[in-house]
Subunit: 390 residues, 2 copies
Amino acid sequence: MRDVALIGVGVNKWGELWEQSLRDIFVEAALKAMDDAGVDRIESLYVGCMAPGLFTGQEHLASLLADYLGQTPIPAARVESACASGGLAMRMGWMEVALGLHDIVMVSGVEKMTDVDGAGATYALATAADQEYECFNGATFPGLYAMIANAYQTKYRIPFDKFRDQLAHVAVKNHDNGLLNPHAQYHMKLTLDAVKNATMVADPLRLFDCSPITDGAAAVILAPLELARKKFRKHPPVAVIGMGAATDTIALHDRDDLTSFRSTEAAAGQAYKMAGVKPNDVDFAEVHDCFTIAEISVTEALGFFAAGKGGDAAMAGVTALDGKKPINTSGGLKSKGHPVGATGIAQIIELALQLRGEAGERQLKNPHLGLAQNMGGSGGSAIVHILKSL
Amino acid sequence: MRDVALIGVGVNKWGELWEQSLRDIFVEAALKAMDDAGVDRIESLYVGCMAPGLFTGQEHLASLLADYLGQTPIPAARVESACASGGLAMRMGWMEVALGLHDIVMVSGVEKMTDVDGAGATYALATAADQEYECFNGATFPGLYAMIANAYQTKYRIPFDKFRDQLAHVAVKNHDNGLLNPHAQYHMKLTLDAVKNATMVADPLRLFDCSPITDGAAAVILAPLELARKKFRKHPPVAVIGMGAATDTIALHDRDDLTSFRSTEAAAGQAYKMAGVKPNDVDFAEVHDCFTIAEISVTEALGFFAAGKGGDAAMAGVTALDGKKPINTSGGLKSKGHPVGATGIAQIIELALQLRGEAGERQLKNPHLGLAQNMGGSGGSAIVHILKSL
């Protein structure tokens, strides 16, 4: 099994990109990644994308994008695991390089979400839940995560006002970080009061507890570590040292406990084992804050904080940019945006930038070990990667 | 890189399965494969499926199916390459076992196509073409393949009546084979006259030149060859010795030549090289006969026949069950049915059954080397596998 390194990253400016199509934004991010790596061809392509058929009427996506990137006849594969599609693409690309099938592999993610009407986007996203048992009964994703939030507050007997404050701290912190990320969708400072008084979406989750609808793409280039050290010296080398993937029931009603994400626990356990590290060794992490409650619960599932204590950590500033365990330095899904398939790759890019010391105004001091946690639906799947500077 | 073997196969009876949902047919095929292999758990799952969001409103499919198969928290990945999604799943599962990430890996494909209205299925399938340049201008898949057929007839100056006869021979032969396959959708003997006088779909392709809309699932279990030899002795061992994957432009108007499938040529070249064999060494093949013209052109791209001579081979009986190079002994997509994501896996299953000597009434005499060619859209992607009896 060969060691795998990341040699290039590329991302476009995320947002509501009415004048760019899905293929446009993919090619923009992909060319940036190739330029960053210093390669003019790739040998294989993975594309994480959740629902291009529902959002834009286009399947057969990886071939189309290989074509528009001028790279046919290379192999190209689209992979899907709802909102964890980007992380899944990373896993597949890692496998291909580790196995030695190819050397220069592009792993990308993309989602063009604004070309459907409002009901369409909500419907498309809901297909990540159990269509027959959840959606047909009226559940939407804000509703499902609201149930998780309520179960969490009840289980850990947190007074409502305090819990509401914990959730708000996550949103404010991630928007503060997003202000320092030029590719983020929202450069908008939030106050605790603004979050707590925003329009209700699904009790207790309000507008600023939810990640937005976004058009965006992200791409990274992987190569064998040995080759990266020899040939690709433009940036400090970053190695992929840990990886894990796991599933859980799709439907919430099938779970013993709504408050912890079992798939994330299992995936993180695999990644820690492969990397030979412990949660305490991780300097910083990008986690799947599709809703504020998700970030709180996920930081517990990753072993960063004890069960029920994730919210306290957020309130105490432990997860802030200058805290002991910075979480979502990129701005997270909350402020950076959440173009579903691209999210998992953008997390990897944030790890790489921080580990290279190229994260600009949001740069951490000498981080060595970063973790990315990408999650599908309400936790039906999770992918965890651990990256290290060398 | 570990050698990979196939230790179990499972498929349901394909057809218009109004009383079974997508998850029902998947679980039926998956449990058969586990029973055939003699395992009660799997370590990882791949699902090839083209468009579950458009057909049934369900994405996040691999997690859902891992859940309904009772196998969470194993990793589960859905992969998509239009009609080559099954072949792509096989490639991914092979990679995972070859790399040593897991030992017992299920590779499956499924598509539930009849739960949408007629326009819906045609629309969903057309998303495998270039939506912005082909479909928006009215192209459908029968139309695209009709253009390929016309270009083929023109290029090789075949008199129309003879060409029409060649196409009809493919349909009649595949339906003859399908009569001997208990899992095929259509057990229906065709005559040349019936094919030639059937309802016109897109000139020159008539109803019986086209593969049908089908609900179906198929699953195989992969394991390291060494482990298979030691522990899984229920069936003669079958090894996966060659694999290739490639892309081509999605849109036909971007190709230099419509009459040959460049992605299939490239994928086959890789597979032959990896297996260390030549086209002449292949005893039989399952190829992607989504339309009769596709089988003719593909048998040329695979190197079985010279360019422009695939139709003559079909007419001369070379590709018949008792011919020198039997093609689509299963009945092919034409008669077995074409549940898009499952097709590539069903091809692999036919190879395994023939190589094990378990193909019943359609059993070939001591075949040793079989090839499966799975193709996406109008050839925008192709995956080729070569399997060998040991």
